[in-house]
């Protein structure tokens, strides 16, 4: 018995497009072509497989009315009790701190402006990604160096009202800086009124009038950025497969993407707000999904991606990333009662009274409060009758 040709398989399987998801069509095609090489697939068997796939797809579909939101919330919330509270070191890169487990999940849902452990994965373009030294050089350029990182000692000379900085030679070398370069940056930052003298590795800064002013100056000088990208406090260069990748502690996505040698297509950050700002709402949605699912996966918790997608979609429907909570999704619900029942009860009721708001009672909380059936699942079914004349009339 001869089997059907690969062409027939292809054309028959592709007829499924639009009826079942593309991923299934592609997988079916691949599988059949591979199996077809080993054994003959009859036209009849091919049709049976295709029918079986259609049927399997149909029977996997969600029921209309299904409370998918609640199920998603429970599926993410319930395993929360099993997660760690601790922040551990990054599995691959021991030097970087990463927030994991429950605190990270909460942070994502809160859409905190600055995550407690911001982190970037900086991919490089070919000449740099293949060469360790070139990658290192970029890393050096990225890492933020402040005055504080260089000084071995800082004295406040009360007699002459000046600051005395001693720079560490080894650290200067490590960061590829010279005392005169430091002076240059300092003069630029502090303005022309400040007098700075360099003696070998010692810097003398004279500017203050009073003791308190001197102290303020000292604090300010410590934080002055000498080189690197703002907020990037630590960099680690690591080989990932064939290429060198830079991991950074601290995130400044906008600045990093401007740098030469950085792969602008793959470099990412774990700060969702930055992604939203620079790559847009759809990228933020993707980042939310990635971050949430990797947080859960790292904890060994199996949660279907569909639940995570729904949360991400809900957070991004309004065109901006909204928090799961009173300052976001929950605070913008249409129902007054639902908002009042969640948090800050009085404020919502009082505001509603002034605005003359009307609660249409279409959501879950409102329905429970008023004793109406919940408009989900079996409660979403309505009987509609045709208001025509009866025969007898």
């Amino acid at each position: 018995m001869t089997g059907v040709s690969p062409e027939t398989i292809r054309s028959e399987v592709r007829k499924l497009r639009g009826e079942v998801p593309d991923s299934v069509v592609e997988e079916l095609e691949r599988t059949l072509l591979r199996v077809g090489k080993e054994r003959a697939i009859t036209a009849e068997a091919l049709q049976r497989v295709i029918e079986a796939v259609k049927e399997a797809h149909l029977s996997s579909l969600v029921e209309p009315g299904e409370a998918v939101g609640t199920v998603a919330a429970q599926s993410i919330g319930e395993p929360g009790t099993q997660m760690t509270l601790r922040t551990f070191h990054y599995a691959g890169v021991a030097e970087l701190n990463v927030t994991l487990g429950l605190p990270r999940l909460i942070e994502i849902l809160d859409t905190r402006r600055t995550p407690s452990a911001a982190l970037m994965t900086v991919y490089l373009e070919p000449p740099y990604s293949k060469d360790k030294d070139k990658a290192r050089a970029i890393a050096q350029e990225i890492e933020m160096t402040t005055v504080e990182d260089l000084i071995s000692e800082m004295e406040t000379d009360l007699m002459n009202m000046q600051l005395l900085l001693s720079l560490s030679r080894s650290r200067l070398r490590q960061k590829e800086l010279t005392p005169s370069k430091v002076k240059e940056v300092l003069s630029r930052e502090l303005g022309p009124k400040v007098e700075i003298n360099v003696e070998e590795t010692k810097l003398r800064i004279k500017a203050a009038e009073s003791l308190s002013e001197l102290r303020r100056l000292a604090a300010r000088v410590r934080k002055i950025k000498l080189k690197g990208v703002k907020d990037v406090t630590k960099v680690v260069v690591k080989k990932e497969g064939e290429e060198w990748v830079i991991y950074t502690e601290g995130s400044n996505f906008a600045e990093i993407l401007k740098m030469k040698g950085v792969d602008k297509k793959r470099t990412t950050t774990n700060n969702i707000r930055e992604i939203e700002e620079i790559l847009g709402i759809e990228a933020a949605r993707n980042a939310l999904i990635r971050e949430m699912s990797s947080t859960l996966r790292e904890q060994g918790l199996e949660v279907d991606i569909r639940h995570i997608m729904l949360v991400a979609d809900m957070m991004t429907v309004k065109g901006e990333v909204r928090q799961i909570g009173r300052h976001g999704v929950s605070g913008e619900k249409s129902s007054v009662l639902a908002r009042a029942a969640f948090e800050i009860t009085l404020k919502h009721l009082l505001e509603a009274s002034l605005r003359g708001e009307e609660d249409r009672l279409r959501g879950v909380t409102e329905s429970i409060i008023t004793g109406n059936p919940i408009p989900l699942g079996t409660g979403s079914v309505r009987l509609v009758m045709q208001g025509g004349r009866s025969e007898r009339e």
Binding site: D22, K258, K265, L279, G280, N286
Partner: protein, 84 residues
């Protein structure tokens, strides 16, 4: 698109950014018809969104997004462009 674009990074092509396309008026109306919704009942995208700006989407447009789906391989989504 003014001079601002030149110094700004074009987000298109980044691994996290799916393909966006402004729909024609007819296509947009077809979407609204298909889902029986008013424009505001679609997911939104701000006109200031980096991608919206890059493709020149204006408030009132509908943007089609071709997502690489985690489940279905490919999936289409639409967003209504609003001021912001």
């Amino acid at each position: 698109m003014g001079g601002r674009m030149s110094e700004e990074l074009d987000p298109r092509g980044h691994v996290l950014v799916p393909e966006h396309r402004v729909l024609s008026k007819e296509e947009g109306e077809e979407v609204l018809r298909r889902y029986r919704v008013k424009p505001h009942q679609l997911p939104l995208i701000k006109s200031s969104d980096p991608v919206a700006r890059a493709i020149g989407a204006k408030p009132g447009d509908i943007v089609e997004i071709k997502r690489e789906s985690f489940t279905a391989g490919r999936a289409l989504a639409y967003r209504y462009v609003v001021e912001g």
